[in-house]
C-alpha cells in the first residue's frame, strides 16, 4: 500500500519534471535557434546563412536534462513552508555581518587607505579601485532615492552626466578650478533632480521608473544634440586635471607654482596623479556615506523611510510628501553630480556615450544587489559588479555569461539583496534588548 503510493508519487514527480523540462527546453530552443543556429557566411556574391544544428541541439538537450534533474531533486525534498517571519540561515548571516560590520569597517577603511602603497598594487589595481569607488559613491547617492525614500529611479545617470558636463564646461570655458566647480556640479545636479522630481511627484513604482528612465534618455539626447554647447557626440576633451592645493601633477610645472613632485622633492611619476585621484574619490565617497548615515537619523531621513513604507500614513501625520520627495531627489542627485565632476576630471574627456542607460542599470543593480538601504551592502555589490567582470577577463567571451549567472544566483538566494538588514535609527532599550522582533 505504502509502496504503491510512493510509486505513484514518484511517477507523478517524473511526469511533472518532464513537463517542466520540456518547457525550459522549448524556451532554450527559441533562444538558441535564431542566436546560435545560423551562421552568416560570405559567398562570392552575397551573404548566406549556414545551418549549425549542433549548437542548437546540444544546449537544448543540456537544458532539458538539467531542468529534469533539478525538478526531481526539488520534488524529493519535502516542500518546506516558507514564512516571512522565520529568518533563513542567510538572513541570520546577513544580520550577523551587518552587526559585525562595525568591527570590520576600521579594517576596510585602513585597507582602502593603504591600498596604493601595498606591494601588489600597480596602476591597474588603483584604477580599478577608483572605478569601484565611483560606483560605491553613485550607489550611496542612489541609495538615498531608492533605498531610503523608495523612489525607483532608472535615470540616475542623468545627474552623473549633469555633474560631469557642469565641470567640463565651466573648466574649459571659464578656466575654473576643480575645487570651485565641485560644489557647482553638485548644485546643478541637485537642481536637475528637483526638476525631475516635480512631474513625478504623483507617481510610484513602475510608473515612476518609466518616467525617470525617460528623463535619463532626455539628458543624454540633449548632450548628444545640443552641439553648440556640448560639442555633440565628439564630447569635450582636454578637461583640466585636479590640482593638489594648486600643485599640478605634470612633468613640468606651468608658470608660477611648482609641480607636485618638485614641491615634495619626488622623482616624477605618472602614478602620483592616479593615487591622488584614488584618494580624492575615497574622500568624496566617505563624505557621501557620512552624510547619508547622519541624515537617516534626522527627521527628513525618517520621513523618507516612512514615505517608502506608507505615503498615505505620512500624509495623515502631517508630513508634506512633496517636499520630502523633492529633497530625496535633490540630495540623491547632488551626490551623483559630485561623482560626475570627479569622473570628468579623472577621464579628462566626457562624451554622451559614458552616460547611457546601462550605467543607470548598473548603479541600480548595485543598490538592489547590496540590499536596499544598506550602506555596506552597496560597497560589497559595487566590488562584485566591477571587480567580478575584471577578474572574469580570463574567461574571455564567457565573461558576461558568468557575470549574468552570478547575478541571477545572488537574486535567487538573497531576493532582498546581499545584506538586507535595517539598523533602527534610534533605540529605547539599547542594543541588547532590541533583538526579539527585528526579524
Amino acid at each position: 500500500m505504502a509502496a504503491s503510493t510512493m510509486q505513484t508519487a514518484r511517477a507523478r514527480g517524473v511526469a511533472a519534471g518532464c513537463k517542466e523540462a520540456g518547457l525550459a527546453a522549448f524556451v532554450a530552443l527559441m533562444l538558441a535557434l535564431p542566436m546560435a543556429g545560423f551562421e552568416t557566411i560570405g559567398t562570392a556574391t552575397a551573404i548566406g546563412l549556414a545551418w549549425r544544428p549542433g549548437l542548437v541541439i546540444v544546449p537544448v538537450a543540456a537544458v532539458f536534462i538539467g531542468r529534469f534533474l533539478l525538478s526531481l531533486l526539488w520534488h524529493r525534498q519535502h516542500p518546506r513552508p516558507r514564512t516571512e517571519a522565520a529568518p533563513s540561515v542567510m538572513d541570520r548571516v546577513a544580520r550577523g555581518v551587518s552587526r559585525g560590520v562595525v568591527y570590520v569597517i576600521p579594517f576596510l577603511l585602513l585597507f582602502a587607505i593603504a591600498l596604493p602603497f601595498l606591494p601588489f598594487s600597480n596602476r591597474y589595481v588603483i584604477d580599478t579601485a577608483t572605478s569601484v569607488l565611483i560606483y560605491v559613491m553613485l550607489g550611496w547617492g542612489l541609495n538615498i532615492v531608492v533605498g531610503l525614500a523608495g523612489l525607483l529611479d532608472l535615470g540616475y545617470v542623468a545627474f552623473y552626466a549633469v555633474g560631469a558636463y557642469s565641470y567640463a564646461l565651466l573648466a574649459t570655458h571659464f578656466g575654473w578650478s576643480f575645487w570651485a566647480c565641485l560644489p557647482l556640479a553638485g548644485l546643478f545636479a541637485a537642481l536637475a533632480g528637483i526638476l525631475l522630481g516635480f512631474p513625478v511627484l504623483r507617481l510610484r513604482g513602475d510608473y515612476l521608473a518609466i518616467v525617470t528612465l525617460g528623463f535619463g534618455e532626455i539628458i543624454r539626447l540633449i548632450l548628444l544634440n545640443w552641439y553648440a554647447v556640448t560639442n555633440g557626440p565628439n564630447g569635450i576633451s582636454r578637461i583640466p586635471r585636479p590640482t593638489f592645493f594648486g600643485l599640478e601633477f605634470t612633468r613640468r610645472s606651468e608658470a608660477g607654482m611648482p609641480a607636485f613632485h618638485e614641491f615634495f622633492n619626488l622623482s616624477y611619476s605618472g602614478e602620483h596623479r592616479v593615487i591622488f585621484l584614488y584618494f580624492l574619490i575615497l574622500c568624496l565617497a566617505l563624505i557621501t556615506n557620512a552624510f547619508t548615515q547622519r541624515i537617516r537619523k534626522l527627521p527628513v531621513g525618517r520621513a523618507w523611510e516612512a514615505l517608502r513604507e506608507d505615503e498615505i500614513a505620512c500624509r495623515s501625520l502631517g508630513i508634506n510628501p512633496t517636499n520630502t520627495k523633492l529633497t530625496a531627489f535633490g540630495l540623491g542627485a547632488m551626490f551623483g553630480g559630485f561623482a560626475g565632476a570627479f569622473f570628468a576630471t579623472r577621464q579628462g574627456f566626457v562624451s554622451p556615450e559614458s552616460f547611457s542607460f546601462i550605467e543607470s542599470a548598473i548603479i541600480l543593480a548595485i543598490v538592489v544587489l547590496g540590499g536596499m538601504g544598506s550602506q555596506i551592502g552597496v560597497v560589497l555589490a559595487a566590488v562584485l559588479l566591477i571587480v567580478l567582470p575584471e577578474l572574469g577577463r580570463v574567461l574571455e567571451q564567457f565573461r558576461m555569461l558568468v557575470f549574468g549567472g552570478a547575478m541571477v544566483a545572488i537574486m535567487v538566494w538573497r531576493p532582498s539583496g546581499l545584506l538586507a538588514y535595517r539598523e533602527p535609527t534610534l533605540r529605547l532599550h539599547g542594543k541588547a534588548r532590541g533583538v526579539g522582533g527585528t526579524a
Binding site: L298, P299, E309, C314, T425, R427, L428
Partner: protein
Amino acid sequence: MTQTAAQVHHVPLLTVEHMTMRFGGLLAVDDLSFVAKTCQITAIIGPNGAGKTTVFNCLTGFYKPTVGRLTLHHPRGPLLLEQMEGYRIAKEANVARTFQNVRLFAKMTVLENLIVAQHNVLMRASLCTVAGLFGLPRYRHAERAAVEKARYWLDKVQLTEYADWEARSLPYGAQRRLEVARSMCTDPILLCLDEPAAGLNARESAKLNELLCSIRDEQGIGLLLIEHDMNVVMEISDHIIVLDYGRKIADDTPQVVRRDAAVIKAYLGEEEEDELPPEVVEALKAERERSS
C-alpha cells in the same frame, strides 16, 4: 488641567454642515450635518457602505467633499477643513486619524513610528535639517523630548517593551494600539478612529475602550469613531450618529439611538426577518418590546 478641561468641556469642536460627496453617479454621503464636541467620543455607525469612511476621508483631506462646509473650531481660530490640503489638516488643524486597515511603517521600529509622527516639531527644531546635520544641542534636546513623548504613549498603550521591535512583527491588536499612539504623538485636538476594534478579541477590545476613554478624559480632545462593534460603540460613545446609504438617520445619545426604530431597521432589515438567525430575531424582539 481640570480647570481648563471643565472650561472647554463639551464645546463644539467640529461642525459639519450639509456635506455631500458624490463619486460619479454614486451618492456616498448625502447632506450630512453634525457636531462633534471636545471631551466627547462621537461615534459614526451604519451598515456596510453607509459612507462612514468617506466622511472620514473628507474630514482628513483625502477627498474634497462635493458640497459642504467642515469647520474645525481650533484654539487659534476656526479652520475650514474642506479647503485645506491633506497633510496640512494634520499639520496645522491638528486632526489625526487611524485607518481601517492598519497603516504602520512596517519595517521601522515601534519607537521610530512614534518619532516620525513628531516630524513637524522635530523638523522645526532641526532648522530644516541644518541644525540636525551638525548635531546642535537645540536639535538634540528636541529629539530627547520626542523620545520622552513616545515613551509616555508607549507606556499608555503598553508597548514599552516592544519599542525596538519592527512594527510589522507586533501582534495585530498591538499594531492597532500603536496606530492610536502614533496619531496621539501628533498632538491632535481631534482624533478620528476608523474601526479601531476591528479584528480584536474581547480582551483587546476592552483594553482599547479603556485607552480611548482615558484619552478623552485626560487629553481633553474630541474623538470621532467609526465602529461596527456595537459593544464598543454603546459602551464608550457619548454621542452616536447613524448613517444609512449616506444619509443621517439618527443623531443622539447611545440610550436613545439603540431604541430608534429607523436604526434597527437599517441594521437588520424588516422584510428579511425570516432569514435571520434565530438568536438575532430574539434580540430584535426583545429590543422592540423594550422600546414599546
